[in-house]
Amino acid sequence: MGSLQLKSIRKAFGPHEVLKGIDLEVQDGEFVIFVGPSGCGKSTLLRVIAGLEDATSGSVRIDGAEVINTPPAKRGIAMVFQSYALYPHLTVKDNMGLGLKQAGTEKAEIDTRVAKASGMLSLDPYLARRPAELSGGQRQRVAIGRAIVREPKLFLFDEPLSNLDAALRVQTRLEIAGLHRRLKATMIYVTHDQVEAMTLADKIVVLNAGAIEQIGSPMELYNKPANVFVAGFIGSPQMNFIPAEKLGQTGAKTIGVRPEHIALSRESGDWKGKVIHVEHLGADTIVYLETEATGLLTVRLFGEHAYAPDDVVFATPDRASLHRFDANDRAIA
């Protein structure tokens, strides 16, 4: 089991600074997810933790021990990659056992651990196959198995579901969640998909342009975003941002309201507008409005609604769920 401390991690490629001083504490057994737009440095941060990339400065501690000068194989970590990264010339069994073999573990011990992991991931029928003979989902399970077999202090996942199709993604997501519950291991997971982040994480770290924007549980980020970036990044469809002066409000620069916190009515309401486009998703209906007061507004209604483009409607925000941001884009408590 393992904990992780990062202290002022910086990483620069030439003059370009990718990580600008990252401080982070991860407790034993936590599931922590790094999210952010592409190019925000989340994968680089994961590679620094793994030791695949040298930090320009800063300290990485795993289980209290400084590992900044320790090679990846000796850090007690295991990593699952987006492209699976299985060894093409080895069978599933040898793929899973290679790390232990390199570490000089006894053959009997390797066999037991591989058998345990393959049982957990239902890979038993495939142990003698090579990666080329497996489907994408099976390959990713082998990659996860390879990580489990090492019994690491820290599991690192680098966008493990990005190469899978939608149905498999949901299934594998459930498997990873189940795995975390069963192994009670510390896991660090990088993704750009906020649904993965919200559904899997104990703690989400939102990164942007090489710096941490906010750390918190999924619901904290949803209910109390620290700034405009986090408010816009978490939640789908995106939060509506309205310049406060348009609404005649003072003391704030921007007012944020989530699409699901707006009610629509054909008769009366705060903001009068015209429907531009409607998306019927069955469970939800997403309505895009152009209102005089606020400009473009996204509204998410539950269930089916018969709005059509060019309908005139009134939108009313839920006053208790408004988010207010100051001139520096920070949330006003």
Partner: protein, 279 residues
């Protein structure tokens, strides 16, 4: 059969062009082979004719095998070619791996410097090379040829292989590092098998000029013990009299080993040329 993508006239022209090219390319080989089995007078009276029972003669092959030490020449050619290819592939792949995998100061410059050899023919340096070999006492050794050919083959090998190695997944190498493989193990066990088609391409491109070279054997290793096949065949070409039977027979024999090597590499080669174009 769908006709949407086939135009019979165009296909006919394409095949005509290909057949014409094949004939032009194979004709000298055909002429050499056919005439190597004919008597001397038949070569001159009817050079295009196939050998008939009356003109058939193995005199050329007998001369080649009895005069001089042709088995020894073949051995020399094979040793030089095979060892040079092996060294070019080994050092070329290692340099290419370093250039494509590691970020270090001067990486780009080093790559350009190593590629310079593609543009500047090594023969320009013949005098200096000869002086160097004399100073090192390597004249009339196969080592001198192997050294020169390795140097000659490396630039193109590094250029082609480093491009291919850039396409090998970073994740795979990272996975290897996390599993505790050394950099050498990552190179030999993960990367090399994946760039095998490119290695075959490089091997063929390297092999043919080495096998056919006359220049460096003539200058660096003209001694009887170190003669290569191409140099050995020259002894039948005199200033006044040329033993055409022997020359043609020697050349026909010289085709064989290089063809065997080519067949070995060619399966890989086809994949090497087409890979990247289609996934």
């Amino acid at each position: 059969m769908s006709k949407a993508r086939s135009a019979p006239v165009r296909a006919a022209f394409i095949h005509l062009a290909l057949i014409a090219y094949t004939l032009v390319a194979l004709f000298p080989v055909f002429l050499t082979l056919v005439n190597s089995f004919k008597s001397r007078s038949a070569i001159f009276s009817a050079p295009m004719a196939l050998p008939t029972p009356s003109t058939f003669s193995l005199i050329g092959y007998q001369t080649v095998l009895s005069q001089g030490n042709f088995v020894g020449y073949f051995q020399n050619s094979l040793i030089v070619t095979v060892v040079s290819i092996a060294l070019v592939l080994l050092f070329g792949a290692m340099a290419a791996f370093a250039l494509s995998e590691y970020r270090f100061r001067g990486n780009m410059l080093m790559g350009l410097y190593l590629a310079l050899g593609i543009m500047i023919p090594i023969r320009l340096g013949t005098v200096a090379i000869l002086q160097g070999m004399v100073a090192a006492g390597l004249v009339n050794t196969l080592t001198s040829l192997i050294l020169v050919y390795t140097a000659q083959g490396l630039p193109l090998a590094i250029f082609i292989l480093s491009e291919f190695m850039r396409t090998v997944s970073d994740d795979l190498k990272s996975a290897g590092r996390i599993d505790g493989l050394s950099e050498y193990a990552i190179f030999f066990r993960l990367v090399l098998p994946l760039v095998r088609p490119a290695m075959a391409t490089v091997a063929v491109f390297t092999m043919i000029p080495i096998w056919n070279d006359l220049w460096f054997p003539l200058i660096l290793a003209p001694g009887e013990a170190t003669k290569t096949v191409t140099l050995g065949a020259q002894m039948f070409i005199g200033q006044f009299v040329t033993n055409w039977n022997a020359v043609l027979s020697a050349l026909s024999l010289a085709i064989l080993p290089v063809m065997v090597l080519y067949v070995i590499f060619s399966r890989q080669l086809i994949r090497g040329i087409t890979s990247g174009a289609v996934k």
